[in-house]
């Protein structure tokens, strides 16, 4: 995707301007989803305050949408928390994947950074950090802008919830899949990465259809990355 073109660093550009430019695709992806969440939360019986607090404190798109559905179905609160845990456990791997780049950050900074790590900010930072762009001003700029877009679009959804009955006719529910297509394209750095992507996609689908609930993403990721290691070992032995 265009993170390569987007991030050609202009020395005259301030970290904030650069952060905004890089966060723009995330904002576009978040606005429709945050909006949809705001609408649905309102219709599921959450107060406006609780709706906003969930976006500010939990800050996890798919988990919030699932939780809202469970609240609407009057599910057990412990079941809601447990579902959230399983849905968001993939961040464990993302956090581990970014760790090798952040050896020079202190604990406070790392703890703050972790609070704003979502699928989308992770994917963007994975591309940036790989190019040694670990500047804290720009990194936190991106994260704060992204979360503001998330909370802000939740507020918009709340405000519009009486007007909007269905977000599907305008294709808003495709914003995140479209964004992930772009982010995935940016991650296909080698043939090995392509093999890992195809494996992870097929496995994840198969496990989901087999009824693995919410852990199919986690399981498929671990297995596919391990297969990637095997492919790497095999190809480097053949070429040596």
């Amino acid at each position: 995707m265009n993170s390569a073109t987007l991030s050609t660093t202009d020395p005259a550009e301030s970290p904030l301007a650069s952060a905004f430019r890089q966060a723009l695709p995330i904002i576009l992806g978040y606005v429709p989803v945050g909006f949809a969440y705001g609408v649905l939360a309102q219709k599921s019986g959450l107060s406006a305050l609780n709706t906003l607090l969930m976006s500010a404190l939990v800050y996890a798109g798919s988990a919030q949408l699932i939780a809202v559905g469970l609240f609407a179905a009057a599910a057990n609160p412990l079941a809601i928390v447990a579902t959230t845990f399983v849905v968001n456990l993939r961040h464990l791997l993302m956090s581990a994947a970014l760790a090798p780049y952040l050896g020079r950050w202190n604990k406070t900074r790392l703890a703050l950074f972790a609070a704003q790590m979502t699928d989308e900010t992770f994917a963007l930072h994975a591309n940036r950090f790989a190019r040694n762009e670990t500047g804290p001003a720009e990194t936190f700029g991106i994260n704060v802008i992204a979360q503001s877009a998330w909370v802000g679009s939740t507020a918009l959804g709340l405000a519009a919830s009486t007007l909007i009955t269905d977000v599907r006719p305008i294709g808003l529910d495709y914003a995140l899949p479209a964004m992930f297509i772009g982010l995935l394209l940016g991650q296909l750095k080698s043939r090995q990465h392509l093999v890992v992507a195809v494996t992870a996609g097929a496995l994840s689908t198969a496990l989901m259809l087999a009824g693995l609930g919410q852990s199919h993403v986690l399981a498929a990721t671990v297995i596919a990355a391990t297969i990637g290691l095997g492919v790497h070992a095999w190809t480097s032995r053949r070429s040596s």
Partner: protein
Amino acid sequence: MDQQTIFLTILGMMAVTYIPRALPVLALARRTLPEPVIRWLGFIPVAVLAAMLVPALVAPEKFLDFSFRNIFLWAAIPTFLVCWKTKSFVGAVVTGMGCVALGRLFFT
């Protein structure tokens, strides 16, 4: 459910979301990891993105659907092409959403 119970549930959701986000980066950032571990972690981004995306495209209703009714799958093609050819992320998102909206308008 009353709003106070909902608030307490949200606090619980916050805790179980934050801990997996924070623990690895806090524990591993200052360690020098062995080379195969670094390489394995390098495959995580592409793996996790594909694992999240592919089921949403080929089975949006939780069953495999390669028919023309599956708009999410077919909209992925122009989205992919626009992103690849123009390198424009915004263009890709707009293309995808537009295709889904038009597909629903004409075919459902």
